[in-house]
């Protein structure tokens, strides 16, 4: 069965890509993923805040709050001649190590929200051997005077800055919260995005009522989460030059095939790796192959976008009428 696919020019042996998560920085896990059939790896994100926080925290605690406390303790830490890893060296080293140890494409990931100095890491990630870069712009506009246009411009500006740094393909992981997702996809496309990842799953805070505190608690995607990316992949297919990747709620080979038929060039998995283990990829591939054999498909290419907006007969399923139909069904 021909499962190969092309994502931003990267040749993937099948559409299954491991999303950015802590597992993908662990070389042993990555090797296991490759063994089980995963076709590409996105490294965990190098966070703008992490780079910035580490620099500031070390500066504060090594140079100020522990300095000149008194005659006896003029400082509290040894001051090494050289520091490493304030500029993401560990991340880059991990990228190099993983790249050298596996044969599948490795995609670096950057997570930030400002057009700050951190975009320079795009180039460093490229130099360290990444085959592509995924850009995760995580910006929560809590200021009510901030307009949608300003937020959108900020996203496009950051993408352009990053594109200017690198020659490898750049994907942008999109938020589903734009007023006009299609228009933003087009703007990213015009700004040079090589891939659009649908969608970023924002982990909102939970409340702890005993402490009256908001707390971050990671949660896994559920199967019903597949609907949103499926929907938008289908709408965007054929309307942008960029490759499309679908992520959220993928739990089976059937889910992958749905995404492909909607128009995805690649599908991305995280939660399932935690829920079932990294070897779930082989099950998914088996399920895909089995379904395709049963239904006499020869290749992934064949089915790509076959159920996208431009190719389905009843387009009402993609628009408002669909909503009304569903309500009646309840």
């Amino acid at each position: 069965m021909e499962l190969q696919t092309d994502y931003m020019g990267l040749k993937l042996k099948n559409p299954i890509v491991a999303s950015a998560c802590p597992l993908t920085k662990d070389l042993d896990r990555v090797k296991e993923m490759e063994e089980s059939g995963v076709a590409g790896i996105i490294l965990p994100s190098l966070f703008e805040e992490e780079i910035s926080y580490d620099q500031h925290a070390m500066d504060q605690f090594l140079n100020y709050s522990t300095h000149s406390v008194g005659s006896e303790a003029t400082s509290f830490f040894p001051e090494p001649e050289n520091f490493k890893n304030f500029e993401g060296e560990e991340y880059l080293e991990s990228l190099r190590r993983i790249k050298a140890s596996v044969g599948i494409p490795i995609i670096g990931s950057l997570n930030g929200s400002t057009a700050g100095g951190w975009v320079k890491y795009a180039k460093l990630i490229q130099e360290a051997g990444a085959d592509a870069l995924e850009l995760n712009i995580f910006f929560i506009p809590t200021e009510v005077n901030l307009t949608g246009a300003e937020v959108e411009n900020r996203y496009v500006e950051i993408l352009k800055l990053v594109k200017a740094q690198v020659s490898i393909p750049v994907a942008i992981k999109m938020t589903p919260f734009f007023s006009s997702i299609g228009n933003m996809a087009k703007r990213f496309d015009d700004a040079g995005a090589n891939g659009l990842v649908l969608f970023n799953r924002f982990q909102g805070p939970d409340f702890d009522l005993d402490k009256l505190e908001a707390a971050m608690k990671p949660s896994f995607s559920t199967h019903s989460d597949i609907r949103l990316p499926l929907h938008w992949t289908a709408i965007l297919f054929g309307k942008v030059k960029a490759s499309l990747a679908a992520t959220r709620g993928i739990k089976s080979g059937i889910d992958v095939l749905k995404m492909i038929m909607a128009g995805a060039d690649a599908t991305m998995i995280t939660s399932l790796f935690y829920q079932e283990g990294v070897y779930c990829a082989s099950r998914i591939i088996k399920e895909m192959t089995h379904w395709m054999e049963e239904h006499e498909y020869q290749s992934i290419r064949q089915m790509k976008g076959s159920m996208s907006y431009i190719h389905v007969a009843d387009k009402s399923a993609f628009v408002r009428a669909n909503y009304m139909k569903m309500l009646r069904a309840i």
Binding site: Q55, M58, F61, L62, T66
Partner: protein
């Protein structure tokens, strides 16, 4: 001659630079002011810096200086070139080994930053008391007077020791030289190699103990030969002066810097000469140069090689015209006929005359004087007074200079206005706060000016004795000529004040010269700043015609993301207006320095600092000074009018920085000081203080429990006590049934004593039902509420304390109604140690004696000017003393032995006097078990009756009983110290005291590092932590002190973490004190050395417990008698990964930034370590589970 490389370093680094390069084994232990030498050696070793033979010295931290000397002795015997560094008490601990090393004629150099010895008080500052205590050991002694000399003499000592086979002490003045930053010529490796001869090294190795050619050394000898054996070394000592002289000559050829065993400077025909050694000689040299120009016939003899003392060379160095000689000692030997150098000089000259070899026409008059103890300022004015004294017909002998001795009248007067500061030398004084970066910025400025210009440079930094809100003053000199001024600046042509509030607290402009430039960090604009200055400051600015500039550096810092760090901004201002460098050039240099300093920590920090530099120039302004002072701000006196006389006359002077002016008669003669004096020192260091919301409060007491400074308190009282309360005084009804109906409750903050650490706010569990961001305690700016809260605090204090007998002190809430008898210490804001001490004083303070090991707790507990230990209205409170670092457990045991003995004596007398005082009273006193507050109270009442009765009996027995009767009431002995003491230097004694079975309570304030000396590794330091002396991260696990104590079976042991479980801590304290044998409480104490914002320490303590880093448990030896397992695990199975805890602290995280691979290895090892530890404890806790019995009460 090799070309010179100019560098800017301090004396410690200068000595370590040489010692490291010519050593193979280095044994270290921290002690101020020498710790930095060991730190340098450890850091270089961690970075794999080789010595001159291309190998990396083996640097090992020992458990004490005694251990370091032992390790050096062993390494020398086994044939490795070895060295160590120490000072003061550390040197005393090395003395036994020094006799051995010298007796065995073994070459080594001990580098000493000379420091006072603890006598009537401890002092960390510089004098020669320590080195003079080692002068009899057989070590040669070579003295350096400046930073340059420290590097030079260090090498001369290492070269000479190898040739002479006599070990050397190389010493220089603690702080004045060890911590002074100066521009010097670096001694190059080629010079070092040329000075250290291979054949000497080979000869040394030949003497090594080795089974390949075995000998024995260190025999025991008998009356027949020991004496002769002792005399065998004489030829070695006889030739040592010549060897040193030869080394000095070789050194001069290599570097151009010439030294003699005794260096004379002055008139060839001088009649009056001073003999001295150490940094003070540089000030004397400077004065001599000036007085020679004025035609005075004076001279100065600098003693360099003090032991072996060459009489011949000494006498030759003196002018033949000599008539009178003043020998200045920087040490005191009470009861001696003179101090050591004086006696040496008298002997030398007398012997010369006796032998007929005197070059002098007449026997000169010789006078001894003492100066500079504990870094007391030693200025040209004082030295001139000594020369002037020698002019007199009958000069004072055994005089002192630098103090006013109105008791023994030894002191010389000096002219306080005499100054020889050169106008051509730039002299700047910078006032800053410890954490605002002022000192770092000034060190940077010195580097810029020293490295980029031809100027010589000197920087010296003075800190006050507080750990929170510490005031720093930086003294910087720059000039075309070498700077010998080994004293503080007396007249400055530049004064910078980096904190506006200092203008109200200190006489910042006292030393400003007329026409000087004054730079002020001010929150006020160009138009407003003048009106906000105190009246006296305005007057000074006008009178001295100061060139006044100001900037709102805090605003610039905020706008450029620098937070509260004003260092770069103020440094830029300094360059902009001081004219030391052209303005543009200086900006470029500052930016270069920023790149050098911060570049290794990432571009963001560099760019942020660049931005601050650029914005500074735009915001700096010159203030137009009006003709007259108009300010209505008049400074008030430092302490309240109703303070005791001692506080007003002595404490207040010290607080105001005028301690130098106190005469001898004002100082207690035996080191005894009153307690409860911190309350008079209103420091106002917090910008924001906590404010209580009575309607939100649930009255849990957690805020008061965790407060490190005893500034937030709770009180329960009757409604009638509210009479006369200020209008803003807050009060609410007590909740629950612990107190009587109608009682009231208040939480009150001491606004002027709070450090603003915010621990109380973080720990507060109560939140508003309508706004979850609002707690029962919230921070608010201090200044607007200072006066009202002062009045409220004063009112709070006069409300009577709640009856102790009615308080449920076993609850957190109840314990916090008890009055703390430890308050307002100078500990760091957010200190993790002090809440434990405070708790102990609340529970047991009225019957408590504290033996305190040297360390942080002895500094914030007992460093002048004020004392945080206090007393309750009855007059009872903790009695406190500090003996040494190493002997604290033994010291505390001594308390217990004395108390027990006195109790037994009292009981014996009581029985004897039974018929006279009444059998029933005697029986009830003797049978009292005093296991709880009520019983102790009752016993006190009985003893009061007893004392009343015996006061009417006039027999000797009655008198004795009267003086011993108070010992019939229970006394609680607390032995308190840090992990450096308990795990390392004092462990032997602690172990012995625990083994003794005596009823003592040991509280280990475990910060997992030597906190007081600046964060050196102890055996409590966990795996993976980066610390001084563990620059590469500690590779091995922390010692399990609790388990070692438990192994005795009779020691109560508890491991507590107040922030993780306050109830558990309280229970452990109560159980430990009640247990009639030895108790050990190991208390997790967050410290700034952990590298995180201590505001979050309670959360971090929870993480320590949740991750298994810090298990909570109690081991009660009484439990087996009740059929219970003595060991109770009080914390649950670890539920988080250790790395989650470690990543929150810079001490661990920085290893990831230094050596990621090692960090990964050590993180893994650390996790494994805690896993194994948990398994072990878990098994221990389940040992009696078969019977289903553990004490979970």
């Amino acid at each position: 001659m090799t070309t010179s490389n100019k560098i800017l370093i301090d004396g410690n680094e200068a000595a370590a630079h040489i010692a490291y390069r010519v050593s193979e084994v280095i044994a270290i232990y921290p002690i101020t002011p020498s710790s930095n030498m060991g730190e340098w050696a450890d850091a270089w070793s961690a970075e794999a810096t080789p010595n001159i033979w291309g190998t990396i010295p083996n640097v090992v931290e020992m458990q004490s200086e005694g251990g370091a000397a032992g390790a050096v002795h062993g390494a020398l015997q086994a044939g490795s070139l070895s060295t160590t560094f120490t000072a003061s008490q550390g040197l005393l601990l090395m003395i036994p080994n020094m006799y051995k090393i010298a007796g065995e004629l073994t070459p080594t150099v001990f580098h000493i930053a000379a420091r006072s010895l603890a006598a009537q008080a401890l002092s960390i500052f510089g004098d020669h008391s320590d080195v003079m205590s080692a002068r009899q050991t057989g070590f040669a002694m070579l003295c350096s007077n400046s930073v340059q000399e420290t590097m030079d003499m260090a090498l001369i000592a290492h070269a000479a020791t190898l040739q002479a086979s006599v070990p050397f002490v190389h010493f220089f003045d603690g702080f004045r030289t060890s911590h002074e930053v100066a521009k010097i010529d670096e001694v190059s490796d080629s010079t070092i190699k040329a000075m250290i001869h291979d054949e000497d090294v080979m000869n040394f190795r030949e003497r090594a103990l080795t089974p390949d050619r075995p000998v024995i050394r260190g025999t025991a000898q008998n009356p027949d030969v020991y004496f002769q054996g002792r005399e065998t070394c004489n030829p070695f000592y006889a030739r040592t002066p010549q060897i040193v002289d030869d080394c000095m000559k070789s050194f001069a050829k290599l570097t151009g810097r010439k030294y003699d065993l005794f260096n004379y400077v002055g008139a060839p025909d001088a009649e009056r000469v001073i003999v001295m050694m150490g940094s003070g000689a540089e000030a004397a040299h400077e004065l001599v140069d000036v007085l020679l120009e004025r035609g005075e016939k004076i001279g100065l003899l600098k003693v360099r090689l003090y032991r072996p003392f060459s009489i011949e060379r000494f006498v030759q160095a003196l002018p033949k015209t000599l008539k009178s000689l003043a020998v200045l000692d920087r040490t005191k030997e009470p009861g001696a006929i003179g101090d050591p150098l004086y006696l040496d000089v008298v002997t030398a000259i007398t012997e010369t005359f006796q032998n007929g070899a005197a070059p002098f026409k007449t026997f000169p008059k010789i006078f001894g004087g003492r100066y500079g103890l504990s870094s007391k300022e030693f200025t040209p004015a004082m030295i001139k007074a000594v020369y002037d004294e020698l002019k007199k017909e009958r000069p004072k002998n055994h005089f002192t200079i630098g103090i006013n001795d109105d008791v023994s009248h030894t002191s010389l007067e000096w002219d306080k206005n005499f100054s020889i500061e050169k106008e051509s030398t730039f002299r700047g004084i910078f006032w800053g706060l410890g954490a605002d970066g002022t000192v770092s910025a000034n060190k940077n400025s010195i580097k810029i000016i020293g490295e980029e210009t031809e100027n010589f440079a000197q920087g010296y930094f003075v800190y006050d004795s507080k750990k929170s809100g510490s005031v720093t003053t930086s003294y910087l000199r720059f000039g075309k000529n070498p700077i010998r001024s080994s004293y503080l600046i007396s007249t400055a042509n530049f004064v910078a004040c980096h904190q506006f509030q200092f203008l109200e607290q200190f006489d910042v402009l006292e030393k400003a010269a007329p026409g000087a430039t004054f730079l002020l960090n001010s929150p006020y604009s160009k138009d407003q700043v003048w009106d906000h200055l105190p009246h006296s400051v305005q007057e000074t600015i006008i009178a001295k015609k100061l060139n006044f500039h100001a900037i709102d550096a805090v605003k610039v810092a905020r706008e450029t993301g620098m937070g509260g760090r004003v260092n770069t901004i103020m440094q830029t201002c300094f360059f902009a207006i001081s004219g030391i460098l052209p303005a543009d050039e200086s900006i470029a240099k500052i930016k270069l320095a920023i790149k050098k300093t911060f570049g290794k920590k990432g571009d963001e920090i560099v760019n942020q600092n660049y931005k601050a530099v650029d914005m500074t120039v735009q915001n700096l302004f010159k203030v137009i000074v009006p003709q007259r002072a108009t300010s209505k701000i008049v400074l008030s006196s430092a302490v309240a009018d109703h303070a005791p006389d001692f506080v007003k006359q002595v404490t207040c002077a010290i607080m105001a920085g005028k301690g130098d002016e106190l005469p001898v008669s004002k100082i207690p003669h035996d080191g005894t000081y009153p307690v409860g004096t911190t309350k008079w020192e209103k420091r106002n260091i917090a910008q924001d203080i906590p404010v209580w919301e009575s309607d939100i409060c649930i009255q849990c007491g957690k805020c008061a429990f965790i407060c490190p400074h005893g500034v937030i308190r709770s009180k329960v009282y009757e409604e009638k006590d509210l009479s006369g309360a200020p209008a803003t005084y807050k009060s609410t009804k007590t909740k629950g049934n612990d107190f009587g109906a109608g009682t009231l409750y208040t939480i009150q903050v001491a606004p002027e004593d709070c450090t603003g650490c915010e621990l109380c706010v973080e720990i507060c569990p109560a939140k508003s039902k309508t706004d979850s961001s609002k707690k029962a305690i919230n921070m608010a700016p201090q200044r607007p509420i200072r006066e009202t809260e002062k009045a409220n605090w004063d009112f709070f204090l006069i409300i009577p304390e709640y009856d102790r007998n009615k308080i449920k002190s076993h609850t957190v809430k109840g314990s916090q109604i008890l009055q703390p008898l430890f308050e307002f210490s100078g500990a760091c804001a957010g200190c993790g140690e002090t809440p434990y001490i405070k708790l102990a004083t609340q529970l047991f303070g009225d019957r408590m004696l504290v033996a305190n090991a040297t360390g942080c707790s002895s500094i914030y507990g007992g460093n002048l000017p004020t004392t945080p230990y206090t007393h309750e209205t009855s007059g009872r409170g903790p009695a406190w003393s500090n003996s040494l670092f190493e002997d604290n457990a033994e010291f505390g045991l001594g308390y217990r032995l004395a108390i027990n003995k006195k109790k037994v004596q009292a009981e014996e007398l009581l029985k004897k006097l039974s018929s006279q005082v009444g059998d029933s009273l005697v029986t009830s006193i003797l049978n009292s078990n005093q296991t709880d507050e009520a019983e102790i109270f009752a016993q006190r009442e009985r003893v009061a009756v007893l004392k009343d009765k015996i006061s009417k009996i006039s027999t000797s027995d009655a008198k004795h009983l009267s003086s011993l009767a108070d010992y019939l009431v229970k006394k609680s002995v607390w032995i308190i110290g840090g992990d450096g003491w308990a795990y390392d230097i004092g462990y032997g004694g602690l172990d012995h005291v625990l083994a003794s079975g005596a009823d003592v309570n040991v509280l280990v304030l475990d910060t997992e590092v030597y906190s007081n000396t600046g964060g050196q590794m102890s055996k409590s330091t966990p795996i993976g932590a980066v610390a001084k002396f563990a620059a590469a991260g500690r590779p091995t696990g922390k010692k399990d002190l609790g388990l070692l104590a438990m192994s005795y079976g009779h020691v109560y042991v508890a491991k507590v973490a107040m922030g993780a479980n306050d109830t558990h801590t309280l229970k452990a304290f109560l159980e430990a004190e009640r247990y009639p044998g030895p108790s050990l409480i190991i208390a997790y104490s967050p410290c700034i050395a952990h590298g995180y914002n201590l505001r979050y320490q309670a959360t971090q303590q929870k993480m320590a417990v949740d991750s298994g880093h810090w298990h909570l448990y109690r081991y009660n030896p009484d439990s087996p008698q009740k059929g219970l397992n003595p060991f109770v695990m009080d914390s649950k199975t670890p539920k988080t990964q250790l790395k989650d805890y470690m990543d929150q602290e810079a001490r661990f995280k920085m290893l990831k930034k230094i050596d990621p691979a090692r960090a990964e290895l050590l993180y893994g090892k650390a996790q494994q370590f805690v896993n194994e530890k948990y398994k072990f404890y878990d098994a221990l806790a389940k040992m009696n589970q078969a019977e289903g019995k553990t004490d979970q009460t």
